[in-house]
């Protein structure tokens, strides 16, 4: 009997997480429809594709962040990793190096920084917020030292062309990123090892007891986040065409906000990459939506901040109410069962 109830509860939790993503998606659609009502150009297919293209960077970062958040940790250093790997690979490309080399170097940079973060958090037991905050500062200075505080410009045309390639009228990078997000979602939700990440965040001691190598998976999560941050750096370099010293400054906060909007919990264990990706599209669409609404750009940060607070608080209140209701139902059921037995 208890067993069946557990299964029922599991399916309830499952449907709730689905609802969360669903709510985010509804919100995204609403955003587009409402802005579209004011200015029809906003929902033209061209603009929607454009909005997705502009949010690629955020999507990639948010997916990496989701891995770390799922294990119950946090990674603040991604903005700096983006900047450093973009400028290193930018310099390689500018000086005539091959694209392949630049990509490999960038990924290695992200991987090594992620590894350091992961080892610091798991082995030295430094709180991940502090560890990655310190790393953010260190990596940012490294970037300034590497570039001597100058912008990296004159990237070769063939590299910039990558972000502009189209297939069936849709940007190739967009297709790749969307497919990758879907694949990663199935990895995290359906494969045995993919579920480890959420299991660790949900109950770390429990994960240890059932034999999950917790520390290894935490390190892996940080490495993935670092690597994805450097891939985002490559996308940034390819899309923008130059790298300033402040590239990616403060982007980590936007990405965390995006992940949280998409239903990823900072406590760990809850969330999906699809939700995070939708959150990322919302965060980056607010910008262009304001342009289409002819609202001055200085409203941007106030609106995204209040949206974040309202959505998260509303979500928490809804979830708590649902929790209370299920607890009451369970209690009632227990009492009824008891009466029947008597």
């Amino acid at each position: 009997m208890a067993h069946i109830k557990e299964v029922k509860d599991m399916s309830k939790v499952k449907s709730m997480t689905k609802q969360r993503e669903f709510r985010t998606l509804v919100f995204l659609v609403l955003l587009f429809v409402i802005v579209g009502l004011v200015n029809a150009d906003f929902i033209s297919s061209g603009n929607i594709l454009n909005a997705t293209k502009n949010s690629l960077l955020y999507i990639v970062l948010a997916v990496g962040m989701t891995f770390v958040l799922l294990t119950g940790e946090i990674d603040i250093s991604i903005g700096a990793v983006l900047g450093l790997s973009a400028s290193v690979s930018g310099v390689i490309l500018r000086d005539g190096g091959s694209i392949f080399l630049a990509v490999i170097i960038a990924i290695m940079i992200g991987g090594v920084i992620g590894l350091i973060n992961g080892l610091g958090v798991t082995k030295l037991k430094i709180s991940s917020f502090i560890m990655t905050l310190g790393m953010l500062e260190i990596v940012r200075v490294t970037q300034v030292m590497f570039t001597n505080g100058k912008w990296v410009e004159n990237l070769p045309e063939n590299f910039k062309h990558i972000s502009r390639m189209n297939m069936f009228g849709i940007n190739v990078l967009t297709i790749i990123v969307i497919l990758a997000v879907i694949l990663i979602h199935f990895y995290l939700s359906n494969s045995r090892k993919g579920r480890y990440f959420a299991a660790i965040g949900d109950n770390e001691d429990g994960a240890v007891l059932i034999g999950i190598p917790v520390n290894r998976y935490k390190v892996i999560a940080f490495v993935i986040s670092g690597v994805l941050a450097s891939i985002a750096g490559l996308i940034f370099a390819s899309q923008i065409g130059f790298i300033s010293t402040t590239a990616g400054l403060g982007i980590e906060m936007t990405v965390i906000a995006a992940a949280v909007l998409g239903g990823v919990s900072l406590r760990g264990g809850i969330g999906s990459v699809i939700g995070a990706a939708i959150g990322a599209i919302i965060m980056s669409s607010i910008n262009s939506a304001l342009v289409f609404l002819k609202v001055p750009a200085f409203w941007n940060s106030a609106i995204s901040g209040s949206l974040l607070i309202i959505i998260v608080v509303a979500d928490a209140l809804i979830a708590r109410r649902a929790n209370n209701r299920t607890r009451k139902e369970r209690l009632n059921a227990r009492i009824l069962n008891y009466k029947e037995e008597v």
Binding site: L119, G120, F129, L133, E137, G149, I256, F298, G305, I309
Partner: protein
């Protein structure tokens, strides 16, 4: 008597003295007491926010919105005084209250909706700096130049001195005393610690933990407001992006000061020492000829290393384990 002083504070004090000696040897001008006292101007804002963020972190929360509250209060002061022609001191007082309101919003949302403090204050950070930008946008002032033209009296608030001691040092000491008395001498302070150690048991022993948590955010908001006023006075203009880069130094000061990021343990004296250490480190490196943009390297390393050390005696064990990584498959319960 000596036993009563926490060990970590002794370490911090030694570090501070060592820092003064070493930087003095590199550049003897560092030993000039006036230069040292005047350098308080550069970090007094960070320090006074850090005092009260210590409260927040002791209760087990975190407040990353302090930096943007500085920008908001700075803009509010500038607008009220220069555009609407209010008396500058009334304007400053109102601005500090605005900071307190921001903290109140953070605190109520965190304590009553039980959303993670990090998320709410992140939203708050975006929101408050956003409101500051909106206010500047409406007033028609240039975002880049900000609002200037404050009266000399107000400029004197941060730049003047009393009996040769710069006002910023006095503000530092006064705020430290307030924070110290609140945290270590009153019942309220004990409640803050209890809430951080175990919120449930604090709740069961009759403490209204929600009120306690909310109040710490209010204090942190008020202190950010005061820091905003001081910074506005020091720089003589109000801009929305003041304090934008304060997040990292504030948290460094609190954590380096020996406050556990998980809550329940810490103190303001450590925070004060740590913020002086960081401030002097910056000054010393600048005097030693290091460019300003490289100083983040030092503070970042300081942050990570100090937290790693504070893991206590386990640190050596951890380093040893790091060295033979392969043997450890992870997941030791007693780790």
């Amino acid at each position: 008597m000596l036993k009563k002083i926490p060990k970590w504070n002794v370490v911090l004090l030694t570090t501070l003295l060592a820092e003064i000696i070493i930087f003095g040897l590199i550049n003897p001008r560092f030993w000039n007491i006036n230069i040292l006292l005047n350098s308080f101007n550069d970090f007094v804002g960070i320090a006074i926010i850090a005092f009260f963020v210590t409260f927040v972190i002791i209760t087990g929360g975190i407040d990353i919105s302090g930096g943007s509250i500085i920008g908001l209060t700075s803009v509010v002061t500038g607008l009220l005084a220069q555009v609407y022609g209010l008396n500058i001191w009334v304007a400053a007082l109102l601005a500090v209250l605005v900071g307190g309101l921001c903290g109140l919003l953070n605190g109520i949302l965190i304590a009553y909706s039980k959303v993670q403090a990090m998320v709410i204050t992140l939203g708050g950070m975006l929101l408050y700096s956003g409101i500051a930008l909106v206010l500047v946008g409406f007033s028609g002032a240039s975002t880049y130049e900000g609002i200037s033209g404050f009266s000399q009296e107000f400029i004197n608030l941060a730049n003047g001195n009393l009996l040769g001691i710069p006002h910023s040092v006095i503000v530092f000491v006064v705020m430290l005393l307030i924070a110290y008395v609140l945290l270590h001498w009153t019942r309220y302070g004990r409640y803050i610690y209890l809430t951080g150690i175990n919120q449930n048991s604090a709740e069961y022993s009759g403490i209204n933990t929600r009120k306690i948590i909310t109040s710490t955010y209010v204090l942190s908001g008020l202190s950010a407001g005061i820091a905003g006023i001081i910074l506005t006075s020091y720089l003589g203009s109000s801009r929305a992006d003041f304090g934008a880069e304060y997040l990292m130094p504030i948290l460094t000061a609190v954590v380096l000061g020996g406050t556990l990021i998980t809550g329940g343990k810490g103190g303001v004296v450590g925070t004060a020492l740590a913020s002086i250490i960081i401030g002097f480190l910056k000054l010393g490196l600048q005097m030693g000829g290091v460019q300003t943009q490289y100083i983040g390297l030092a503070t970042g390393m300081l942050l990570i290393i100090s937290v790693a050390f504070m893991g206590g005696q386990k640190f050596k064990l951890n380093v040893r384990r790091l060295l033979n990584l392969k043997k450890d498959r992870g997941g030791n319960l007693n780790a």
